[in-house]
Amino acid sequence: MAGDSYASGLVVPDYALLIILLPMLAFPVILLLGRLFNGQDWWKGTMKEGGLLALPVMAASLVCSLMLIAKFIGQTTVSDTSTVLNWVNFGWHDAATGSIQAMSLDFGFYVDHTTIMLLFVASFLCLLINIFSIGYMNTDPINDNRNHRFYAEFVLFCSGMLGMVLSDSFLWLFIFWELMGLCSYLLIGFYYERPSAAYAAKKAFLTTRVGDVFLVIGLAMLWNLFQPYAAGQDALSYAVVFDGGHLQSIADAGKSGALQLAMGFMFIGAVGKSAQFPLHVWLPDAMEGPTPVSALIHAATMVNAGLYLVARMFPIFAAEAMHGAFTDLAFIIALVGGITACMAALIAFVQMDLKKVLAYSTMSQLAYIFTGLGAALFLANALDWHDPSYAGYDKNKTIVIVAFGAALFHLFNHAMAKGMLFMASGSVIHEMHHAHHDVHHHDHHDEEDDHGHDDHHDDFDAQSMANMGGLASRLPITATAMLVGSASIIGLPLIGGFWSKEGIIANTWRVAVDHDPRFLLPAFLVLITAGMTGFYMSRMWFMTFAGKPKSEVAAHVHEHTPWVPIPLLVLIPMSLGGIVFASMKVTKYLGYNGKQLDMNLIDGFLYEMDHVFVNPGAGYLLVLTYIAILLSLVVGPTVAMALHGGALDEGQKAKPWIQPFINLSERVNARRHFDNSGLADSTLATALEERLYFDAWYDAACEKLVAGFSVLAATFDRSVVDGTIKGIESGSQSTSSSVRRLTTGSARDYIMMAALGTLLIAVILWGVA
């Protein structure tokens, strides 16, 4: 890939700035209006405490995004970084030349296919979340009179995500990245009066902080590497970093190792943000935020930031100058992905909390994408696909493109499916809550106590799947959405997730078999994870929707909250339509800037079917495909059905497209039912319930190492730092009073001082002249 393709002359239209600016400006407006009109009827009723203020803003943001996407979707080149904001100009002293160099930090846009995809994902999902929240947040009395805070933080979060996607420099990416980090902290800790929420917010913030420190180090190294070539530009801008000539110079100077190290540090930042092993501990706790909106943020949008950062490094890996230099880093990325995928899926086996299952599933699916990215980056770096005269040029190029595209396509599919799943789970929990409230109210009808809704905060857990069951007929839309989402995550053939997941598994194996045997480990891990995904996703669905209600509350659930089903209905076709996207050869589109979407759907469909199921080329890939399908579609769900399947209550009938699944589960359950209590009591299960003791280990490590250091630091801070500051302060204060004593208040003295000043001037001038 030639370097100059990263700077064509296409100009991003001005309205693109609105995408970021509108939500950012809405933030103070909502906050301020919320403060001013808090509790007033029109604010709560008409404005939904800011929800209906955020909605048009997010809608406008989406419209602008779509316009931008429409403008670029037909293009085969990258848009140029067009400067929209000249932020800071400054000079710095260049030790090499001994002169002052001018330096400017500009904000501009960088739009390529990755940007377009993520821009759509982010703005689309943010709007849907907004709609969902209006239904979810405003009907829960616990949120009363503080929803404006939620909406304000939400729009700020959205502007952070959109800004990160659109910005044209790693520096701005980092700034928006941190903005999101802040909002995520605020949103997780939305119920800050609960110690668990405050703890979770702190934990998420501190864990990602570990990654961010490395990210900053990586960025500093990157800046140092590219600064000589920046020529007064921001040395972290993509235009500078992706330039083939600059990369060639760095390779010639023998600094490609340093570049790999820099990107490695940046990858650690991504690991923290995307909750990968070993910085994954914060994500399950993040579910403490307002159900399930914060969860959605931490599943469908923000965690993609880490993936986006790694995907952004693709041009560096793909540069001809760096041929073969970064294979180690690519392997590490794939390995971290593989380990996390398997580990998270294992932990998801035993979770009883609906949202936690989804949280671990998120972790596992993100890890898939990391593995896919690792494989793609390896291929881009190791294969010879730069020189068209080389015999295998076309084949190699296709391989690289498809590998990279598959990883990004999985990001898209996962975001859509997981967004839907989380909103559906929110719907389940919300309706459970309502039902519980009704049931409870009914029981204590006579006791008119004044506790209001305090008394339904007893030990009933509306999120536990142990209390659900048989909801398929009671929550038809939610059950459908859950079903489609789970199918997409599992990889039901022809649905969205199937195409991308097959692509990731196949490409990881391709690297392992054809190029680097080290990849066998991640390749094997992602393959068995496919089966495990099949199990835990089916387990979740059957436990929630099939069988008899496991609690009295579950029998009284109805789907009646307004606004909530809208996003579900919108998202169902997004996941089902995976086949359409696949037929457009979207993997190739996403993988390479030179491709266009293929609108010849029939041909595309036939091509894809042929390619996946009949694969005439590599035989082992075909075998692999069928193994993956077998594992994820047959083995996993069968075990889940055997454990948790079952018919609905008498007289309850689910929708016709759901009923067959229930019937199937009932049959499997009846025939293959086995007792897993032995397994459930095993050490492994206990270890999984304790999340493989990671939290305990980290706590212990913190206590042993960090806490001691903290005490030391605190002492140092109190005695030395504060002591110095206080010393300076009291010193300044006493100097101040003696200086002010000279201001006597008598004009005579003032003139006298002026005369002394004149004398001083005379003396100094005498000395000089």
Binding site: F90, Q733, S736, R740, A747, M753, G757, T758, I764, L765
Partner: protein
Amino acid sequence: MSSLLRVEPFSAGFFGYFAAETVLALGLVLMIVVPNLGRGTFRVPGTQVRVPWFFGGERYALTGRPDLPGYISVLTLLTALVLLINDLLNTWDHTTQEVLVHAVGDDSVRILAATPFSRLMEALFIGALFLVALASNDRYRSTPAREVRSLSALYNNRRQADLHILLLTCALGMTTVALAENLFVLFVGLELAGFSSYILVAFNKESKFGSEGGMKYFMVGSASSGVGLYGLSLLYLWAGTLQVDALALAWSNIGQEILPYVALGLMLVGFGFKVSAAPFHFAAPDAYAGASSPFAGLLATASKAMGMVGLFRILLVITLPEGTEGSAVWLVLLGVLAAITMTWGNLAALGSKNPKRMLAYSSVAHAGYMMAALTAVGVWNLGEASLDGAAEAASEAVLTALLFHLVVLVAFKMGAFLVIGLLEQEGEVKDDRTLSGLSKRSPLLAVVMFVFMLSLAGVPPLSGFLSKLLVIMGIVKVAAVDVAGSGASVSVFGLDLHWVWSLALLMVLNSAISVYYYLRIGVVMFFDAPAVGRDRPVPRTVFTAIAIAICLTGTVGFGVWGDPLIEVCRDAAEALLR
């Protein structure tokens, strides 16, 4: 770029080119005439016949209104400001029409000149005065509002007319200073504005500190002016002219003479008082505390800028090194004064409990920062070819930063004084208890005041940060120009820097000190309980609110989007150094 047009005073095009001043003069005439219109009659001598001549006597209802002079003054200043901003937009396009006014029949005798620099300074002065006029409209109606019901009892339109006449004469004096090409003209303008401001300080008759502060300010001011005038006369004695370009020419051929140096030193005393440089600043805190707040704001912004214009003319136009000289002769002197001034101001502000005195001392500190920037301009001989443009660019950058600082200072310093002005409605502001608990009384006002404080302290992204950053960067840039062989360099971290670098360091240290007392205002406003008797919301006042909103817009706006203004300042700096 720009073309130079030569006109004679009061010739055909003159009033067009100096439209703003013309408007000011017309406004002044209106201000004198209109409030005096009434049912007055004139007795024809020797008869009993009385002829009505509409002047004096019982005033008409309209012309007798106490708020009329305020409206006239606001409109006049606004018109002038709009005209000047129009000129500045030309500067931005680099299409300024430069106008030179010379003596009748002799175009070598320069009197006034309109350049991008003088236009910018004029706009600054008029802008500040506009804010003051706007805010005084409220002030003189609302001050007695609590105790006296009738407006005319204490504040008839005569007194209002006096006040606004003073404001307009002040405006005329200041614009004259900005335009002057001759030091004598400059001095006349300086005194015109100076005398107006002495009276404006003492105008706060309700407070005994008002007349006291005005008196002290006048005494110290006239002493300094006297010394400055003496320096001016020595300069005339030496060169035979006070025309700026002729003096600059004479200075470049200076021999072993003592007279011009003495003149320079004495003039520095005169202008040092105007910019409130230590140790000539002593009257300033008393004057600021005594004057009613809008006028204190005027002293801290426009008046100080006026002194700076004088310093620019003398230090940058006349005595900047030329020929074979290295640095300016006043380099060490000004550096020492700057260091003393900023440190003294900050230290004194640190312990001041009275917010007005605190702001006065902070304005002394800001004068120190400005003088430090001015010092940096004098480091290099810009005419010397060996410096190869680098020194010129650096000097221009620091001067640009200085001008930018002067302009944005109007926004946040004036804003802070205007907020205090609002509080003065409830009685004198003597200590920070007047501010305590402001956030509980008028939250928006507290936030706005805090923004001004942050900007004064130099917190991004406010304009105070940008200006301070630009000044510090400019000084460092000047100091880092390759100084091989100049012998004036010190080694810092292995870099050869001119010693002027230490002024930037001192600025940073001083800023650190200053953060303490600026943030303390925030602490007082947000965390203390309101004082007894000051617990109701601050009365709402329309005009002051508008003025504060303008200040806030400037404070935030120029901070995040300073480029256009920086561009204008750069042109002004270029025009000045040319």
